[in-house]
Symmetry: C2
Subunit: 493 residues, 2 copies
């Protein structure tokens, strides 16, 4: 037996712990009922020494010219974003209206990805897309064709488009056409299919293809005629109202969908179409509270495209995921993607499913957060926590935290519960890099296997590394093109 | 010259004031930039010595039998209120469906009132009602007829009905029919005309009468057919959703109106009616965000009627104003009204108008607050402050304060921003009497002259005296009918 020693005070007195760093240390103690204050502390610049120097330099006298250039570029970029006025101007067939779209091409969500590296739900959606196009007659044949190299896979984002979840757009799909009437640029998005077993979540069964057929032959032509009679629809107005009615424009769109229905119903009813067909259209819209999502997304896309390609700007113009990688683009570095493996979403699962079933984060729908709503406007939509998890307080905190990494507040999208303050808008990659606060994104969760569909919804944090990389590359691009403080040049060389 | 004396410290040192009582003392000091803490203090029981003794007695051992009887009665009453399930079951013509309604009768808002004592907007609405019924051909002739004694004026509330603002219902007007499917009782309300120059605000011009004609000949028949095809519509479900979409069900009904439109549109479009007529109906609903108000009101009425006439219950079953008097009814004292002069509404005025133009508080719409929404659910509708004045914080505070005077929380009407807590429901006249906290009511403001219409919207506080009187009379009714502590009997004799 070892000799007995006096017990240390650490083991006899009650513990009172302040935890800095990994929350898991705090959680372990909390499970043992030890009182813990878990400080939400992150190392500056994610602890990246080069990035810390870069940011320090920007704040120094040496970096002032550089800083001024970024500030001026951001002022231009954010003004384009804030003054964009996206209007719904119609519905067309993708091959006829989407720039560069053609038969044999499939657009998908997120940064570029190949068939070999595609996640399950995106593969499922591609197979469904090929069945829908009659390019293959069985799922196996579709998978073979997809793998053959005969299909061109390109990101929606490379074609002025965005797509939720798998984001698959094929040549004969009907698409919304939006125009930013301030700058004249357009954007495109497919029509929303509803929740559950749907193509964008990777399902490709007969019911999925049949619904897509109906959307092409009845829903889209009828909606298209109603919009033609109505005239362009101001998405800013609808979205601003929806945010005052408990939507955030990403995972909660009940108000937006309702407002769209009441806007179009008087025109729908007067069309020279069979009343049963119009009735089916109205029933479909009524049954699908996410219908408005495929409008909030291209509204964000055409607003952000107007703010793209401004040399020196650290504004993030796209955040998008393909289920394999999470990617961002910066205004100051144009078309370049910064990517890292897509994370798993934390959220609420449908009965019978768990995080074991989840595909990694997927979809272009994070364009809504990039444009200043979605997760960034979560405080406007406390009821969303019933869908994505969390508490109403989390919703308020999330919006508040996003103010730390954004360049401005929206002048039209307001949050009543925050005294009508504008939503945090325009993510600054340098602020993300400096604070370590990453954008908050509300999102759906697809099953990891092709052919199944939606399994839940939740919140996701993008990988910090892509913001760090973006910040460094922005600095490098500036160093190559202008006069800098020498130390800045040294850092990025 | 008087001899100079040393100045008192009161006049030389900075003042730090705590104000109890009238806020006007604090305001005077605030205007002079003196720091003041204005305590929101009210004398218990409004300073009424008899009422103080009554409430003290209820809490004493002597009053325990009495207290138990009231508690038991209130448990029964609140259960009827909380479990009521109001459904829209159709639309009919008042003389055919409203109990006791007949030609030559005009129902109005609030407690009983005569032509001689009616306020301007109610007179205007009565004149418009007589023109609409072709009982008179000019406004002057209508006023003469109204004064002749040949028209029977009765409160809506005496006919299972409620009416917003002037609340005028005539025999040939179409009315919503609601049924509380739990208890089987029904309620009725006219259809909402929109805002501005409308009958319920006292306007009676040709445009007003023409709109009412159209509502009878086209709107009501078409809506009635759509509801027949749809089947009964569960108002609890619609209202619960609307409260999660920024409505409070009294002065903000944009979400409720939207939900009703999307519910009915698929049925409207399939009717064998001219598509232009259906288009006009949908346009009218789309243009009138208050359309849903005339459904939230009878929903409250049939829920509260199920809780009425329970001996000993201190639950308030009606709060209603006729522009001359504000009245309430208690479950325990049945049909009896407790009234006092109607106050002036504090609020926001339309351009060109001020409180000098305002009629006193008017309308049965305070049935919404009585049933546990409207002002009581203001926290669900922070955007309403743009319509009625105040700040989003006031909206939160108002709902929170109403918890002090209510018996329960709704099990279906929830406020997301308060962690999905139920709305404060079921006003207890004894709690109002004890605390001096009066119910908070959101309301519209009519011009004081007949024929003009709406001039604003705001918040109104009912007169305390009617709650004190109600509490005393409830006690008296109990004293007459049961065994009491002797001191309680002495108090009410």
């Amino acid at each position: 037996m070892t000799k007995q020693r006096p017990t240390s005070a650490l083991f006899t007195n009650p513990l009172h712990v302040v935890n800095l760093g990994l929350s898991s240390f705090a959680e372990t103690l909390q499970e043992s009922h030890v009182p813990v204050i878990d400080v939400n502390w992150r190392p500056p610049a994610g602890g990246d020494p080069l990035l810390i120097q870069l940011i320090d330099n920007l704040k120094s006298e040496d970096g002032s010219a550089w800083n001024q250039q970024i500030t001026a570029a951001n002022e231009t970029a954010i003004e384009h974003l804030l003054t964009a006025e996206p209007h719904i101007i119609g519905i067309g067939i993708a091959r006829d209206v989407v720039p560069g779209m053609r038969d044999g091409m499939i657009l998908h969500a997120g940064p570029p990805v190949t068939w070999d590296t595609m996640c399950g739900p995106m593969r499922g959606a591609v197979m469904g897309g090929l069945l829908y196009e009659h390019s293959a007659s069985t799922p196996d044949a579709a998978a073979k064709l997809a793998a053959s190299g005969d299909i061109a896979f390109e990101p929606c984002h490379h074609h002025q488009s965005v797509g939720p979840m798998a984001g698959v757009m094929t040549a004969s799909m009907p698409v919304w056409i939006l125009e930013n009437v301030t700058a004249g640029n357009r954007s495109y998005c497919t029509l929303n299919e509803g929740l559950g077993k749907v193509l964008r979540y990777g399902a490709y069964g007969d019911d999925v293809i049949k619904r897509l057929e109906w959307m092409k032959t009845e829903l889209a032509p009828i909606l298209s005629q109603a919009i033609a009679k109505h005239g362009p629809i101001d998405m800013r107005s609808l979205l601003a109202q929806a945010l005052q009615m408990g939507d955030e424009g990403h995972n909660r769109n009940r108000a937006g969908t309702s407002l769209l229905i009441r806007e179009l119903a008087p025109f729908l009813v007067r069309l020279s179409e069979p009343s049963d067909a119009i009735g089916r259209v109205l029933e479909f819209l009524h049954s699908n509270d996410h219908f408005f999502l495929n409008l909030t997304m291209p509204a964000g896309k055409c607003a952000l495209d107007a703010a793209a390609n401004i040399p020196g700007s650290s504004l993030i113009t796209a955040m998008a995921r393909n289920g394999t990688e999470f990617g961002i683009r910066l205004s100051g570095t144009g078309d370049r993607w910064y990517t890292a493996p897509a994370p798993i979403v934390e959220g609420l699962y449908l009965p019978g499913y768990s995080s074991d079933d989840a595909a990694p984060d997927i979809g272009d729908s994070s364009i809504t957060e990039t444009a200043g709503y979605g997760g960034f406007a979560m405080a406007a939509a406390p009821a969303i926590v019933q869908f994505v998890g969390g508490t109403p307080q989390l919703a308020l905190d999330t919006t508040q935290r996003m103010r730390e990494i954004t360049l401005a507040e929206s002048r039209v999208y307001q949050i009543p519960a925050m005294g009508f303050r504008g939503t945090p808008t325009g993510i600054d990659v340098l602020k993300v890099a400096e604070t370590g606060v990453v954008p908050a994104i509300n999102t759906g969760i697809a099953h990891k296997e092709p052919g199944i569909g939606m399994v839940g919804a939740g919140l996701v944090s993008p990988p910090f590394s892509i913001f760090a990389e973006g910040a460094r590359e922005l600095a490098a691009s500036l160093a190559r093109s202008s006069e800098f403080g020498t130390s800045a040049k040294r850092l990025v060389d």
